[in-house]
């Protein structure tokens, strides 16, 4: 089993673009001083080292669903969306310090089982008992769902236990995803491994919330309870736009 737990945040070895124009990939790679993936492969670097880390730029059209997009040596996945080159570069720079890093628009994050993808990727490098992996996956999924639904799309969950609330949720969900401004808001997820566990952070671009505004009942409250049940540490930061959790592995 390859371990890349203590890899310093040196650099990525290549930049891979999926579903985006070749020219775009070349431009961004040049901006970041990285070879494009194909050139790196052609240079004979097929024998991957555990420390070889590749950053991926993804198109928004669902290519990110491809299984191979989420396997080694990929460690960072960024959907440029409507970001300029410098903003994408700055995300790539932020990704350097993380074991795994994802930044997607809400529209794309909604189409990908992101927590499942990331836990599968993590499990390629660190052995985790199946039940623990599933529990951490649920907690990460709940944090991402909260960021997406309540944060970026600004939808209240179904507070009541009736179909009227469920219908209202469905209608809001469809409406908000059709709003380009909201659907274009980003969700960022990072994993940072240490000797004993992993720190997971999930950021959104919504209006935030105060913990005191949200009773333990209701959708967000139920999600937070499940996160607290699996995580050893939970911190709500940046006015509710960032949740930092630590899981023992």
């Amino acid at each position: 089993m390859i371990r890349w737990d203590h890899v310093p945040a040196a650099s990525f070895v290549a930049l891979h673009t999926i579903g985006l124009p070749v020219e775009y990939g070349r431009r961004l790679a040049a901006l970041c001083g990285l070879p494009v993936w194909e050139a790196w492969l052609r240079a004979g670097r097929v024998g991957l080292e555990g420390s070889d880390r590749v950053v991926v730029l993804l198109a928004p059209d669902g290519d990110g669903e491809l299984e191979e997009s989420w396997t080694a040596p990929q460690v960072a996945w960024i959907e440029p969306g409507n970001l300029g080159d410098d903003a994408v570069r700055s995300l790539i720079d932020r990704a350097l310090a993380k074991s795994l890093f994802v930044s997607l628009t809400s529209a794309t994050a909604n189409q990908v089982f992101l927590a499942n993808r990331l836990m599968a990727r993590l499990a390629q490098h660190r052995q985790i008992a199946k039940s623990r992996r599933e529990d951490v996956e649920l907690a990460v999924h709940e944090a991402i769902s909260n960021a997406l639904i309540h944060g970026n799309l600004q939808i209240e969950g179904f507070m009541g236990m009736n179909v009227t609330d469920l219908d209202a949720f469905s209608a809001s969900f469809v409406d908000r995803l059709a709003d380009e401004r909201l659907a274009g808001r980003r969700v960022e997820v990072s994993f940072e491994l240490d000797d004993r566990g992993v720190t997971v952070e999930v950021l959104d671009e919504g209006g935030g919330y105060l913990a005191s505004d949200h009773p333990k009942q209701g959708a967000r409250g139920r999600g937070l309870q499940l996160i607290a049940a699996a995580a050893e540490k939970v911190a709500i930061l940046d006015g509710g736009r960032r949740i930092r959790t630590w899981f023992e592995l």
Partner: protein, 101 residues
Amino acid sequence: MDHYTQIQNQETIVSVSGRLTFNDHASLRALIRELCDNETKRQIFELSGLEFVDSAGIGMLLIAREELANRSKELVLRGATGQVKRVFTVAQLGKLITIDD
């Protein structure tokens, strides 16, 4: 989430598989409507093929239970394993819905 429904011995059995998450709101809504409208009193969710459930999935199961109870129908959850079973325990779902193992 995928599901198929069959009626046996005055009971409706809904076999659910895959992942039940907030993204299944539309299909769960349609399923609740179907179960409310059918002739049987006892509706059994057979969950042995379900791999993953989240808090919204739990919420939707509670809505199904409530809507069925309003029509004097019963919802039973059967066969949950692994992650699904553990989440049911953490959420103390057994206090609210009949869980039949």
